[in-house]
């Protein structure tokens, strides 16, 4: 008896939900078995991880604020990447674009932060970051449309060029390098938190809501509307389906690619500005890998803007939670989150298959060719 694979036209929503939730649960179970194998009680560990240690903690609101600080750049980056991915432009240069945005906003903050009023320098920071990141993203896009240079590999290279540029700024002690702290003999980034800091809104007695959270929600809503209801959003999805169709329909494919990649990269720059504006200082690990994690999130969410919020909230819990848990479980490294994250995506990718295809038995008398 042979089996072969058949494409299925539609998969009911409940089946999809079951498959994906099942995939996530299975990943958690496998992770639990791994934990058991090194002698850690998985239930205790997971409780600590998924609650991020907030239960019975008097400074739980601080934990939650830190969680939001981590979440905002990830959400914006994932949404930005999903724009390019929808068009099947493999922008894996999130890291590099984020770094360029961070450098630009750091530049503004350090150069003019102490002369301009704060609201103005924050706005200029955001605009500068968006421009810098957008232009950096445009490099790969321009070569793609002009010479069909492979954008996956090109953006990958640009990531590392940007990273080493940031490292150069962080280590080069020279007169011109105003990125560094003048008072320190050892090269280290200068802090600008006393001049510019993303404002917060006080809610209740202790909790302070960072304005970046509102920016992230706003970006989410706008991108959702952009993709769903505008002509430009429609063009993106047509190109994603088929470049041939798009150009046959009279669309200027090259221009649309350039425009969308610029927008995608510019939003990543905005994420960087939020991060830098909140942190008040640059660092060589400023990205916290959101450029990579964002790809995973965007894909987990099937490039669906709404679900991106859900997926990035989950991934962020894993990351923040594993760091918290690492303090009470010394033998478990915080990179357990990365492992779990990888497992989840592997299993979700596998689940994808079953939403798109089904395995059918070969009929009697038919030769098995599967």
């Amino acid at each position: 008896m042979g089996f072969h694979i058949v494409k299925r036209d539609n998969c009911p929503l409940w089946q999809k939900c079951c498959l994906y939730i099942g995939a996530v649960l299975l990943a958690v179970v496998i992770g639990g078995i791994v934990l058991l194998s090194i002698g850690v009680n998985p239930i205790k560990y997971y409780t600590r991880m998924f609650t991020m240690g907030m239960i019975g903690n008097r400074i739980a609101h601080v934990t939650f604020m830190n969680y939001l600080k981590k979440l905002v750049p990830l959400v914006i980056t994932s949404i930005a990447l999903s724009l390019a991915f929808k068009m099947r432009f493999w922008n894996i240069g999130g890291e590099g674009q984020f770094i360029m945005g961070a450098i630009a906003s750091g530049f503004v903050a350090l150069k003019w932060g102490n002369v301009l009023p704060m609201w103005l320098s924050l706005i200029i920071m955001c605009v500068a970051a968006m421009l810098a990141a957008g232009l950096y993203g445009l490099i790969a896009a321009w070569f793609k449309v002009r010479f069909s240079t492979n954008e996956t590999l090109m953006t990958l290279m640009l990531n590392y060029i940007a990273l080493h540029f940031l490292m150069f700024l962080s280590e080069r002690k020279e007169d011109w390098n105003f990125f560094l702290d003048e008072t320190s003999a050892r090269p280290k980034f200068a802090s600008f938190s006393q001049f510019v800091k993303m404002p917060t809104i006080k809610i209740g007695a202790k909790f302070e809501l960072n304005i970046c959270v509102i920016i992230a929600v706003l970006v989410g809503v706008l991108v959702f509307l952009y993709l769903k209801y505008t002509k430009q959003g429609y063009e993106i999805s047509v190109i994603g389906d088929s470049v041939g169709t798009a150009s046959y329909a009279g669309m200027n494919v090259k221009r649309i690619i350039l425009r969308t990649v610029f927008l995608s990269a510019a939003l990543i720059g905005l994420a960087a500005a939020c991060r830098v504006g909140t942190a008040g200082i640059l660092s060589t690990s400023i990205t916290e890998d959101v450029g990579w994690t964002g790809i995973i999130v965007a894909w987990l969410a099937k490039l669906n803007t709404g679900i991106i919020f859900l997926a990035s909230a989950l991934i962020c819990v894993l990351q923040q939670g594993s760091e918290v848990a690492a303090s009470s479980f010394s033998q478990v490294s915080s990179s357990f989150a990365n492992m779990l994250q990888g497992l989840i995506l592997f299993l979700v990718l596998a689940a994808d298959f079953f939403t798109r295809f089904r395995i059918a038995r070969a009929k009697k008398g038919e030769k098995n060719n599967g």
Binding site: I92, S148, T149, Y160, H164, F168, W292, Q331, F346, L349
Partner: protein, 331 residues
């Protein structure tokens, strides 16, 4: 230090520090020739490194280490193959996830072992002595090049042998020809009776196994000291770049390794070179080391653009179906 000594050390470093790149590149060439773009080199190398090191130490044998590094690398390849070949998952995403996943495993395993007892390389004579340099008779007596090229550990020679063997395999054997056909046009290969799935599975696993050995080398070269940064430290990504630079040719990959290796070894030797040759090379010390670090990526970006501008089919070794999944029913 005398001038000859400095030069010798420089050539020696070029080879010693960069052979992992060759393993990664040759492995990736094999994978890409089957039409799969695997961006998981970094993770695969990390997994091969940590398990190769641990098992090699426990068995007190370099051979066991090499074998387990290969096996664990191949296992990563198997994950990639199941997802992309059988389950039609996107190759970019799967590869990137493999990188995250592999690095996660590396730190998780290393960290949990360190909490108990980390094996120290020098305690295991079978590993540390096996990794000692081997002087090749006669050749190693040549000044500069002799010590620089022919006094290395066994894994250096193994890497060169693997690269040449893969070149021979791809270009001179029937199976290699079939593999290239799968990478160029899987539907056509399928129609002449080549089992596309089996070819892809086989070569993804072997290629990833080769990467794993490269990771193991990296761990040994750092004397197995486990700390906050990964042993692989970006070499996997450079390997992805080097594949393009070598134009998908394993023999050219050897040359490419040394060209990239030249720039990788420069920051290590720049100050001693500048001291030994103050007139000719004095300026070397003034160049920021970050520029050297970025050079492999800058060069690759330029090569990438140059090849796409030239873009004459036939002259490029880029497999035509690279990155595209093959679904038989859509043929």
């Amino acid at each position: 230090m005398d001038k000859i000594g400095v030069l010798t050390q420089f050539v020696y470093n070029i080879v010693l520090l960069n052979i992992p790149l060759l393993y990664g590149t040759v492995g990736e060439i094999m994978v890409e020739k089957s039409g799969c773009l695997n961006l998981g080199v970094e993770g695969t190398m990390a997994v091969g490194a940590i398990f190769g090191y641990i098992f090699g130490c426990y068995a007190n044998s370099l051979g066991v280490g090499i074998f387990s590094a290969f096996l664990m690398g191949a296992l990563c390849g198997l994950i990639f193959a199941v997802l992309t070949v059988s389950l039609q998952a996107n190759q970019n995403i799967t590869g990137l996830t493999l990188s995250t996943f592999g690095l996660g495993i590396y730190f998780f395993v290393g960290h949990s072992l360190k909490a108990k007892a980390w094996p120290v390389m020098n305690d295991y004579a079978g590993v540390s002595e096996g990794f000692q340099g081997i002087q090749i008779p006669l050749l190693s007596k040549i000044p500069i090049i002799g010590k620089g090229l022919f006094s290395h550990n066994i894994l250096v020679y193994l890497g060169i042998v693997i690269a040449l063997a893969v070149w021979w395999y791809l270009n001179r054997t029937t199976l290699g020809l079939r593999l290239r056909a799968v990478g160029e046009n899987p539907a056509a290969a399928d129609s002449v009776g080549i089992n596309v799935k089996r070819m892809k599975y086989l070569h993804i696993c072997i290629g990833c196994g080769i990467m794993g050995i490269g990771g193991y080398y990296m761990g040994l070269n750092m004397s197995g000291s486990f700390n906050s940064s990964c042993w692989i430290n970006g070499y996997g990504w450079i390997a992805v770049a080097l594949v393009i630079f070598a134009n998908w040719n394993p023999a050219l990959a050897i040359l490419g390794t040394f060209v990239f290796g030249f720039f990788n070894a420069l920051p290590v030797s720049a100050s001693s070179l500048a001291m030994a040759f103050p007139k000719g090379l004095g300026w070397l010390a003034a160049i920021p080391s970050q520029l050297y670090d970025a050079l492999p990526f800058i060069i690759t970006a330029i090569v990438l653009i140059a090849t796409s501008i030239r873009n004459k089919r036939g002259s490029s070794g880029l497999p035509a179906a690279l990155g595209l999944n093959y679904f038989r029913e859509e043929r």
